[in-house]
Point group: C2
Chain length 149, copies 2
C-alpha cells in the first residue's frame, strides 16, 4: 500500500516525473508541457482531483482554459498508466507505481480525501464465474489510519 505514510513529497514528485519521462522516452510518447504539468499537479496534491479543478490551475498558469485541454491530458496519462481515474469520485489521482503493470485498488479517506493505492487480485472471482476479465475497478471508502485516531 502506498499513500498514507508520511514521506518526502518533493522527492516523491521528482521520482514520479522522472519515471514518467523515462516511460515516455522509451515508448516514443511525448510528455508535453500540459501533460507534464497535469501529472505534477496530481502528484503535488496527492489526492483525487476533478478535471475542472485541474483545469482551473492550468488556466491560472496560462496552459489552457477549455475542458478538452484537461481531458486530453488526463486521457493520455490514464491511457499510459501514469494516472488513474477514481470512478466513485469522477476524479483522477497520480499512479503510485508508474510503469508496473497492475490492477490497482484504491483506499479513499472520506475525511482527509487522501487516496492510497494498493493491489487487489480479482482474477479468481472472475474465473469462478467463467468471466474473461479485461479491466477492474476497486475502490474502498472509509477512514485512513490517521483519521481514525
Amino acid at each position: 500500500m502506498i499513500g498514507f505514510d508520511p514521506h518526502d513529497h518533493s522527492a516523491c514528485i521528482r521520482d514520479a516525473v522522472a519515471a514518467a519521462d523515462a516511460l515516455c522516452m522509451h515508448a516514443g510518447l511525448r510528455l508535453t508541457p500540459v501533460r507534464r504539468r497535469v501529472l505534477e499537479i496530481l502528484l503535488e496534491r496527492h489526492r483525487a482531483m476533478g478535471a475542472y479543478e485541474i483545469l482551473e490551475l492550468l488556466r491560472a498558469e496560462g496552459l489552457g482554459s477549455q475542458p478538452p485541454v484537461a481531458y486530453r491530458a488526463l486521457d493520455f496519462l490514464t491511457t499510459h498508466g501514469l494516472v488513474h481515474r477514481i470512478e466513485r469520485l469522477n476524479a483522477f489521482v497520480a499512479c503510485a507505481t508508474p510503469g508496473a503493470a497492475h490492477d490497482p485498488a484504491f483506499l479513499i479517506c472520506r475525511k482527509c480525501e487522501s487516496v492510497a493505492e494498493t493491489e487487489a487480485d480479482l482474477a479468481p472471482v472472475a474465473a469462478g464465474a467463467g468471466f474473461e476479465l479485461e479491466a477492474t475497478v476497486v475502490e474502498m471508502q472509509g477512514l485512513c489510519p490517521r483519521c481514525r485516531e
Copy 2:
C-alpha cells in the same frame, strides 16, 4: 454469482418485487408506484440502465417527466439495497439478492451489457492498510461466458 445463467425471468421479477415489498413493509418504507416501477424496469432488463434511460420509460407511462423523479426513486432504491449503482457506467442495476447484507461485486459484459452480481471481500486488504472500511466499489469488465464463445 447471479446473472449470466439462463433463468425464468418472470418468476425472477415477481420474486424480487415480492422481496422488495416484504422488505419495505417490515422497515416501514413506502414502495410507491414510481419506486416500484423503476425497480421492475431494472429487473425486466437485467442490465445496467442510465437514469435518463429509465426516465424516458417513466415518461412514456405517465409516471414522471423530470430528472428528479428518476433520481429520487433511484436514491430510495439504492439506499435500501434494492438497486446498485455501477460507477463505471453511471448506471443502475437491480440487486440480485435484496435483503441480504453484502459487498457486491459486478461482472459487466462489454458485449451484451449484461451484469452479474457476486461477492468480493476486501476487508483483509483494508485491514492490512489500517483502513476502516465503510463502502466498496468492485466492478469487473470483460466478456461473460456466453459472449466468450
